[in-house]
Structure formats: C-alpha cells, structure tokens
Amino acid sequence: MDNVKIRIENLSYAYPLSKKNVLNSISFSISGGESVGIIGRNGAGKSTLCLAITGIIPSFFGGKRVGKVLLDGDDVLDIPKKELVKKVGLVLQNPFSQISGAKTTVFEEVAFGLENLGIERDEMVERIEMVLKRFNLWEKRDQNPFELSGGQLQRLAIASTIALEPEILILDEPTSQLDPQGTTEVFEALSELRKLGITIIVVEHKFEKLVEYVDKIVFLHEGNLLGYGTPEEIFSMKEIEEHNVGEPIFTTLCKNMNVKDATGKYPVRYKDALQLLKGAFWKSC
C-alpha cells in the first residue's frame, strides 16, 4: 500500500518578473507520518518550496510553476480550498504576523480558522480546549494574543493550525526569532505532533536540534535538490562543506578527528557523537 503523502515531481518555479528559477526540477516524496527537515543556505529556495507545497505559490504570488505537487495523489492546485486548509497547515518565522489580529483573546484566536470553516460551535469549543491544553496555553486562554512572548505566540500559531486537524504541517524557521526557552517549547511541540502521526516538514538552521526531530533531510542549494536522505547521510556529503552550509557542531569535531559510526558516516545526533567521541578520547589516553 502506497503511503506516499507528498510527492514532488520536477518542480520548478520562478517569481513573476524574475528570469531566474528559484526551484529547479525538484523531485522527492514523503511518506505519511514522516518528519522531514529542509536545510540549505539562505536563498536556496527552502521557503519557496514550503509555499509551493501549500499551494500559496503560485496562487498568491503569481509566477510560473512547472511540475507537480501531489498531496495524497492530487495536485495541490486542484484541491478545493476548503479541503486544502484541512489537509495542510503552515507556520512561518515571524510569530507576530501569524495571529489574525482580529481577536482579543487566545481562545478566540484559535477559533478563527474553525469559524472560517463553518465548524459547529460545540465542536469548536471542544477542539480549542484540547489544542490549548496540549500546547500548554490553557491558562492563557483569556489573554490578548499580543501580550504573549515569541515562544508562546509560535505555540499559539501551531495550536491554531492543529485545531483544523491537518494531516501535514509545514514550519518555516519557526524558532529563528525565539530565545532558547521559546526554541525548546517549539521543538517539544514538534514531538507532540509526531505522536499524533502528522507529517511534518520543518526548515531550520539550528541543526543540533533539528536532527533530533527528523527522519530525513532535504538538502537544497540554489534551487537544486542536492541530497535527500537520513541526517547522517546528508551531513557527510562533501557538498555540505563545499557550499559552506554548516552542520551540527559535534559533527564538525568528529570530522576533524575522523571519527565515524558503524556505517562509515559522521554522527549527527548528540548522543551518537558523544559516544563515539568518548571512545576516541579515552582510547588515546
């Protein structure tokens, strides 16, 4: 049984009035329930890819999209908006620009999307309570969203989107404007989402944290897909150094000490790196 949730086929895109392609013939697929990270230099096309998966590109931006973006077999542009909104959720970088601005309490803010879909009131109230409790915002339900901190706002954005019960959630640099506490809160929320079986796509520069939460990584550079594989496979690619993409700090150490794991790749997760480095250090003593 084909569990492919998202299939990207030869996707290319250029913004209107621009001759240069921001995405060049990208192809890959993601299975239901998987968590996938997207990495690459600024300008690699990561945000564009996220917006293309939601259909916002090209419908909002114009421009020419070539190729296919298939969600459960249907092209995202063919899915009626009402279904699409219930299938895919999007969380962006800036916590402030994701609140609707039209609601004066956290509770009503979460209701915004549900109201737009015409969900019955009793069900709305149930979903809102569930989602606020799940993301630790229940005590703040009567507060004005603009009084929340950056981390709390991002959790609110995630909660508001999850209330619509999407099967896919895309997060574009969700922690880039947050302090360490806010970052932790968002990554913890991601674990919660994994438990719910939601397919997650997250763009991140905080590699050390990212590798703990994803099964695979998409590596983009200047609009091209350079690699798609496990974090270990990707960060061991020579293009990572060639293009100065960066990697988890402990991976750099392992590379400098030439410490590899059993499969011949450099470790990327903290625990793995720690184990191998411990062995390397205490051996040489």
């Binding site: 600024n42 402990f250 400098n256």
Partner: protein
Amino acid sequence: MLDKSFECKNEKTIIVQNVWFAYREQEYVLKDICVSIDDRPTAIVGQNGAGKTTFVKLLKALLRPTKGDIWIFSQNTKETTAAKLSKTVGLVFQNPSDQIFKSKVIDEVMFGPLNVFNEKHEAYENSIKALEMVGLRGKEEEHPYDLTLSERKLLCLASIIAMDPQVIILDEPTIAQDRYSTKIIAQIIKELVKAGKFVITITHDMDFVLENFSRTIVFTNGKIIADGETENVLNEENILRIAHLELPWLVKLSKDIGIPYEKLKELK
C-alpha cells in the same frame, strides 16, 4: 561572580554606575546595574525580558537612567542625545526593515555618515570601506530589498560601521542567519576588535558567544548575576539555569565526555 574593578569618568571605558530604569512608575526593569565596559569583546545574554535591550538602549542614550549615571568615555549620557552620541556609539538593530528606507545600497549606508561627518567625500569613503568589510562591495547601486535577508542584515551592519564609532553594539546579529553568514559576522567582529573597537552584542547563540566574545555578562530579571571571562561564566551550570540559558554545545560535550573544554577547543 562580578568583575567590579572600575573608576569613574575614565576616558577609556564605559561606566555604568548604580543604574535603575523603569518605563512606568516604580516598575523597575533594571535594578542597580554597576558595570564597566572595556575593549574586550563583550556578550550580553539572558532571557527575553531580562533587561538586555533596555540596557543597550541606555548605553546608546535612547533612554535616560531613572536613577544613576552612564558615562561613555567621560561623556554622561544624560547630557547628550542619541543622535549626537552616534559618532561614538553605534547600535545595529535586529530587524533590517526597521531601518532601511533608501532605494540604493550606497545611499542607505551613507545615511548615517552624512549625519556624522562634515565632508561628503569622507562619508562616501567610509561607506565604501564598510561595504568592503561586510562583503557587499559591488552592490552599491542595488535596491536593498533585492538583497537576501542575510545581505540586508550585513547592510545594516555596514551602515553603522561606516559611521566609524568607537563602540559598536549588535542586537541579535545571528538571528535568521544561516551558518555561513554567521561565520562572516564572526570574522567582521574579529576585524573590528583588531581595529580597537569596543564590540558588544546581545545574543541567544551561546556557541557564538563562546567563540567570539571574551567577556560575558548575564542578565536576569533586571539584574546582572554574572560578569566575567566567557569560558568561566558559561561553565557555571546553576547560573545558566537561573537565567534560562543553555550550555554551549561544546561545553556540554566536554562535560559529558569528561575532558576539559580547552581540549575540545583545539579541535574546532
């Protein structure tokens, strides 16, 4: 853990003496801050809301202390304005869109220098030098919004460097930057320090601090709870816990492996 050696009205240091600050009556956001800043590159860290941004605005005379005084090389901030002080202290704001308003990169960079230098050609030369330093030389005629976000942040940095202030304060320079841009910023900071500038930064990136700043000041709830050599301060787990900060990865790694941090440092 406080480094308290300072004297008043020193021409070579910034003195912050018993400074209290409240935005609203009696609600103090900064409490009895005493610190002297010298030419060591200094990182200011702490949770959001701890008072870091307020502190930095006080250094820049955008705010006046409710109690206490701040001397920037013998100039009391109460007796000057932010605009006048911009010859001496430069502050690079976090968000480029809070600042950019010209349609050409060169015009944007020259805005500050034109306010600060008497001769137009001085402003121009300093602007070109600054663009060179941040790696944007050659993009003078481009529109700032045609640059990538990383480049715009570097543009803002250049616009302050071009004013040639003695002190440069960076507010969250690595936010939303990829690893490569972070390396470039680290290089720029090294060059500025070599040129004798005072470089102060607010940041959440503990590894960035460990690598580039020899002094760290930790703020919590409006007070300074630690101030000293970065390697010492960022090794104190209880202080970091109180301040809701995390250990830099390399420090964590060195503790878990059981070797001193210096050994790991060599390998980077």
